[in-house]
Symmetry: D3
């Protein structure tokens, strides 16, 4: 793959764009564990099958990160720099990156596509892209993505309820016509892709979207239909810190 300044820059953009200085010293919510100093797909001690019954400290829900035994590879320089950037800006490395870190080619391909889609130039705001991510993940009932991107919706919007709406049933959110049309399209595309036709695209155009915007809505919805399935197939667990963010 060619080296491009543009791409190189993309790499150093964090997966979660927002400065998380407030989070650099995260309030110690129970059950959170400090992000590992170096990427480790699995903790030393195996996670016991938890019997939930009595109050007590929340078990470490995200260890191991996935239910597949895939030893972490050595990070290449580019990915090492990227993980450091995540650590510095977010205070942790998102578990999805640890999950992909068994193979540098796969990790880089995922990061490149993710960063372009969610953080690159678009007629959709970053919040709107995160709203699509969560509404799609709700249709697919994906624990990882609902948690990580639900937190992102809360952060970007400054409205904790909007995150809950996207997680639970996007139809209860009091959205403007544009955003409602956007989510209706994304969720229909998720539930019955074969039934999406010109009339659906026309509805988006009438709500003010350009053809490029329609591509972006489709690409983000498509991307989370992929990620939801990789996460569900591997029982991927979100970093515990997400749960308490921006409530």
């Amino acid at each position: 793959m060619p080296k491009t300044n543009k791409n190189s820059k993309a790499v150093v953009k964090p997966l979660m764009a927002k400065s998380a200085k407030a989070q650099s010293a995260p309030r110690p919510i129970k059950g959170s564990k400090p992000a590992p100093a170096k990427p480790a797909l699995k903790p030393a001690a195996p996670s016991p099958k938890t019997v939930i019954q009595k109050p007590g400290p929340a078990p470490a829900d995200d260890a191991p990160v996935i239910a597949l035994n895939l030893p972490a590879a050595k990070l290449n320089p580019s990915m090492a720099a990227y993980f450091k950037k995540c650590q510095d800006k977010l205070g942790f490395v998102p578990n999805v990156l640890l999950a992909y870190a068994f193979d540098m080619v796969k990790l880089e391909a995922f990061v490149a596509m993710y960063n372009d889609l969610m953080l690159g130039e678009s007629g959709l705001s970053k919040l709107e892209r995160e709203m699509i991510a969560v509404a799609v993940s709700s249709q697919n009932r994906c624990y990882y993505c609902l948690t990580a991107h639900g937190a992102a919706v809360r952060q970007y919007s400054g409205n904790p309820l909007l995150g809950e709406h996207m997680v639970m049933n996007y139809r209860v959110a009091r959205l403007n016509r544009r955003q409602r049309a956007m989510l209706d399209f994304a969720v229909k595309l998720t539930a019955s892709p074969w039934s999406v036709e010109e009339a659906d695209r026309e509805r988006l155009r009438r709500a003010g979207f350009t053809d490029r915007d329609i591509w972006d809505i489709s690409a983000v919805a498509g991307f989370f239909n992929m990620s939801n399935r990789v996460a569900s197939a591997t029982d991927m667990r979100p970093n515990m810190v997400y749960h308490g963010q921006a409530r």
Copy 2:
């Protein structure tokens, strides 16, 4: 309806049984964070890039409580006492009660059934009944019940994550065999009631449930299949305070 001491007592039991004295000066249950001195749904710093409705205090999501114009009736003495009890113990009156308060007969019937099912004697713990409530409501994507009873699962368990698991996909929770069987039954009963048969009851018995327990699982699952639909049909909105409880 006959007056029974038992029933009369039921009336004064709060809808959310747990003492919420805590919430004026909350007892430190795990994972809860102290209730803010004054309600502050949002962080100090406004989040940039918000296209939706601009940063600022989150809009009052729960006004009106329902999308039907049904003027509140005068509370009868029993219900007035009950609402006062809620206010004293929880710090608020659950919106579902306000929704039913246009008619005292309906309100009392709802309260009687609810309190018996969720707070009365049972082989199921209160937490287990709330877990059923949320898993069923997730299947039905009911905003009101996911919010109010998701908070209850967090409170009863002292495990904020368990609430999220029930909301998002109960299959990701690391449950013991008993609780997994219980939720599998409740969700199957929700999704395809016609397909529940003796083999399903036998599975519950093998997981340690008595016939009375099976009734209770069924009755709680049934009740939330009712409540989910009343809530969705009327666009019922949960009290805003639930969102931040026991995180």
Copy 3:
């Protein structure tokens, strides 16, 4: 629960309002058995697994009433009076009451809610409420409710076919616009409650329903989504007498 004259009266209203004098000496349809003199959840003799092949008297389909072993409790005075009222007016005690009779609190709560919803004041006629009951139960394929409430539709309407339409596919009934809108709403609320929105309520208003009517449609549909599931979960069997009523 408070004593109210209103409620006390509700208790003495029969579960099936219509006078069934004609049925006091029911025509002897094959397989019917006389209602038991006193409530008994189970017959002395166990019901054999029936091999259906040759014509002959229909086996006793409704013994035991449910597939759970829950010994009947002693009826309290109020419920004893209510059961006597059923026996006098209907000629039998509906099996759903026998099913709940293992616990007086549960029985009273069920009766109070049922009687208010199905027999109390409403902008919906009693027939309309029964039509909702059956259309919902058809969606959920609930044997108990289709049988008992199918009979009620036949009785209230004096039109045996209308009962069959509700049981088989409500769309084949030649309904006026009001009743069709009512059933479309109830069945959508049953099949995909998450998708019910303001446009659905507006459709009911345009068909002539008030906001209070919309509550009642929702509450009746919700109630049968509960009852269908309790009945299916417990394999509840309708009294045999229903099958032949009002044909």
Copy 4:
């Protein structure tokens, strides 16, 4: 098509095999009308849009027989004889025959296939074939077939409840293993034909069915998946007399 004695005989077999002498003077159920002397697809007087509200004689539900304007053709001698046979033996001509009577080739093809499948030689009893017909029609919610073949199940079995079970939810019938396996196969084949595989055929074989029986189960289930759709597509109405038969 070749003339065969076998086939010619098939023609004179009635669509509903059972002698209906008892029905030659049918008890006057409300709304029934005498079968027309000669086949007529539509009555002289158009059927008004019925507003159902008050008790009264049931409206003529089965006129017109279908919602398509297809003038009856002149019966050819074979079909005229067949209709006469129906009239003599059943007391009426089944409406499905009137529906097909606009075209003699279609009518004869339908009659030939129907009579072979439902009345010809088979390892399945006629009752079992009717049970399949109704269980399939219940899955497809077909008013015509549920009514006509529900009556047939009641007649053949002498057990009115069995007919109701098949109409409402075949899983509630207390069937032997053979018949349960048969209906499970037929309903799976109806709901998701693509998922039927060798394991499903093996289950039938283990329940005692021969390969020829499996063909017959499949062919009957297939036939009603056709008929259900022709009936639903044309709003075909069953003869009113079916509703009261063999209750």
Copy 5:
């Protein structure tokens, strides 16, 4: 069944009307095998379980024709003539005929209905009827019918892509309004027959169809809902020659 010249003629019409002279010497696609000289339900050598891994000649996919052990009966003269006609005109006997050939009554009934529906007089062109066949079979994911009738669409239309569209997703075909309305109706009737109502018929009328055309659309859609299920239930295999036809 009466002998009619009309019917006799129908018998000699081939199942696949189009002259297939071009195919009399079919280009040797990999895996095709010559049609058997005389109808044989099973080959001498049993078909091994194929492990697909390496390129090589395609295994004989269509032996045995079905997964049921049903020995072929002796063809009666009419059917023997019909099979010969198929052999002469098509170069092979369609496997569905071999599948039915264990019983002459069933074979004749199938042939009579098939030939009338697909080749008889109709306001629908033969291509349109085949388009319905394939769109319905796609909904039901029926391998036999998709293969055999996909080939027919390619042949009748002279447009190989149209066959692929019907197999994969009929919505991607650039159809005129008439044909789109026709397929929308047929597929809705397949997926949810209970929901087809007058509004659906009206949509066909507005697209230019007569009531007789609506019958034919329904009957063809119904027929393939039958055939799809007989084929899936028996694992019926299409003649290998279809795969390469009219590409």
Copy 6:
């Protein structure tokens, strides 16, 4: 993005690995058009709405490539080289690349992920990955992917029927246990990702797959759940040449 030799090499691997020398002078199937000398998202002449009725040359189905108006960007050197490679090896540039060619970052991210997943190192053969691609695309009824990857299955396997099986219903293919388990997992992950659990992964392990293989199955299934949706959302059209390949 960092420059890595590995990645650079990935770029020069063609999207369709197999040498297509035979196709360098493709047999002139009806309707095919030569691949454009330089990437052009749209042809000069607009595509008319095609009325399909009479045999004749197949219309150009793949112009425009997508239903969004997104002008092609100038290819950067790396992508220009990649397109040239496609042209040289395959004889055409796959339309999906033309569709993404409005933006070099998106195009490169797509190519990098695709080439790694489908052509990189894996315990799954390339054929197996293509089989997953088609089985998933069949579940989602995606015209583009069924066509392009159906051709790939035919090519890699040398078995035209296997491609048809994957397109129509993968359950009819006579697969070994390993490949059947692989496709069952991929299709379940597609249809109900929320229901995939440890038992599903265990089934793959018992069929001989390593944890790394399970990742790859999941990642390929996930990728096509993305691509199917981007293709359906944009009405992406496959190159006409695919239809005739390897029949």
